[in-house]
Amino acid sequence: MKDSIANNSTASISQARKAVEQLKMEACMDRIKVSKAAADLMAYCDAHIREDPLIMPVPASENPFREKKFFCTIL
């Protein structure tokens, strides 16, 4: 009985200690401003948007999913 109580408190202590260590590590991280991060995300989108087939549709002949398939041949 005593062991299980000790077990609970040591487990929660080790958990709490782990949480404190984790938070200390996270607090030391180098962060950049949201304005810079947002600008980089926008620049990436801008650079790749022309190649995005779902936004700028590629002609049907080059898109294998859009091409019309003919199942009957006219004899």
Binding site: A6, N7, S9, T10, A11, S12, I13, S14, A16, R17, A19, V20, Q22, L23, K24, M25, E26, A27, M29, R31, I32, K33, V34, S35, K36, A37, A38, A39, D40, L41, M42, Y44, C45, D46, A47, H48, I49, E51, D52, P53, L54, I55, P57, V58, N63, P64, F65, R66
Partner: protein, 395 residues
């Protein structure tokens, strides 16, 4: 409560007291220590004598959390959608169902594209895993697993194997052969072993390693050839439902999301949790990296999808609407990262403008909840898997 994979994995003499007993393989500052559970408790009590009590540790963690929030808020000088106001509005999208893949006998739970942009693998509740050719609707391979609810499946980068798993608590790899008559089940290789269901799996940049996430609260990295555990990732306090690998070749990080409402970013080599985000109000069902690798999105049961920037270390956008009340189960970005496709439990897929935060389009067609959405590797199509037993290809 979830049971975690690290309890009593080996049996042998304890390094502290010398008695032979089940050992807890724990790490102290990356040094592995193999103590029996009694010695571990003694070690934890030593800390107690140094004046730390649960209460002091708790107050310390509260103050650290506050400090962390303050640091993060200092850099929040502008919102993403404000910066994005000068970006052009997207034109109307013309995305329609182009293929319907029928063949599964029960709910389709997961799917993954092959790098050749035309094949895909899907898994369902009845234990079947099918490899399809999306152009011709041909079923190329089919395997039946002995378990039901195959919740995770992944295609190997080479296209020569598929990995899948679910309620059997393990991840199995099947090499795909060109011989149609060959029994794929015979060549099955069990790679990962967890103590609860497998929720997600993905190959790393080669066929040789697999990253898995499980209902036991851990993620793990395995060697396919030997089945050996290379690294395990502990930190979630509930089931881990999803994971995604960072896109770049040199990237060694992955993000995971779970039922503890947290999204964690991990370093694959050290096993460390580098960043953690707790913004959602309910379970996180899916996480996916932005194509540049600097951000990721998450989908949750709280009916929102959120966008986090890793370098700014905060959530930068929330994709929600009052009319959207059902949980989101899956997200994926289009190739440029401008569109976010999110599958919901109300049978629809909402398409969000990532930068502006507005909804661009709704895709209707499925007759039951969406379990997974994935954009093809070249960005030409979107595949959605649903509980209505079908997969749809949208282009």
């Amino acid at each position: 409560m979830c049971d975690q994979t690290f309890v009593a994995a080996t049996f042998g003499p304890c390094e502290s007291c010398g008695n032979a007993s089940p050992l807890m393989n724990i790490y102290i500052k990356t040094d592995p220590i193999n103590y029996c559970s009694f010695c571990v408790e003694m070690m934890a009590c030593e800390g107690l004598q140094r004046g730390e009590t649960l209460a002091t540790l708790k107050t310390e963690s509260q103050s650290l959390k506050k400090r962390l929030d303050e640091e993060r808020n200092k850099l929040n000088d502008v919102e993403l959608h404000q910066v994005a106001e000068k970006v052009e509005v997207l034109g109307a999208l013309s995305i329609k169902t182009k293929r319907v893949l029928k063949g599964h006998g029960n709910k389709v739970l997961c799917m993954d594209w092959c790098k050749d942009k035309r094949r895909l693998v899907s898994s369902s509740q009845d234990g079947k895993v099918i490899v399809w050719d999306a152009f011709t609707l041909n079923k190329e391979h089919g395997v039946t697993l002995p378990c039901t609810w195959v919740m995770a499946c992944a295609y190997a980068p080479s296209g020569c194997a598929v990995a899948c798993g679910g309620l059997d608590n393990k991840c199995s790899v099947f090499p795909l052969s060109l011989d149609k008559n060959e029994n794929l089940s015979a060549k099955k290789k069990s790679v990962a072993m967890h103590t609860n269901y497998l929720s997600g799996c993905t190959f790393t940049n080669s066929d040789m390693q697999i990253l898995t996430s499980s209902g036991d609260g851990t993620c793990a990295l395995w060697d396919v050839e030997s089945g050996q555990l290379l690294q395990s990732f502990h930190g979630h306090t509930a089931d881990v439902l999803s994971l995604d690998l960072a896109p770049s070749e040199t990237g060694n990080t992955f993000v995971s999301g779970g039922c503890d409402k947290k999204a964690n970013v991990w370093d694959m080599r050290s096993g460390q949790n580098i960043q953690s985000f707790e913004n959602h109000e309910s379970d996180i069902n899916c996480v996916k990296y932005y194509p540049s690798g600097d951000a990721f999105a998450s989908a949750s049961d709280d009916a929102t999808c959120r966008f986090y920037d890793l370098r700014a270390d905060r959530e930068v956008a929330v994709y929600q609407k009052d009319s959207v009340i059902f949980g989101a189960s899956s997200v994926d970005f289009s190739m440029s990262g401008r569109l976010l496709f999110a599958g919901y439990n109300d049978y629809t897929i909402n398409v969000w403008d990532v930068l502006k935060g507005s909804r661009v389009s709704i895709l209707y067609g499925h007759e039951n909840r969406i379990s997974r959405v994935r954009v093809s590797p070249d960005g030409t199509a979107l595949c959605s898997a649903s509980w209505d037993n079908t997969l749809r290809i949208w282009a």
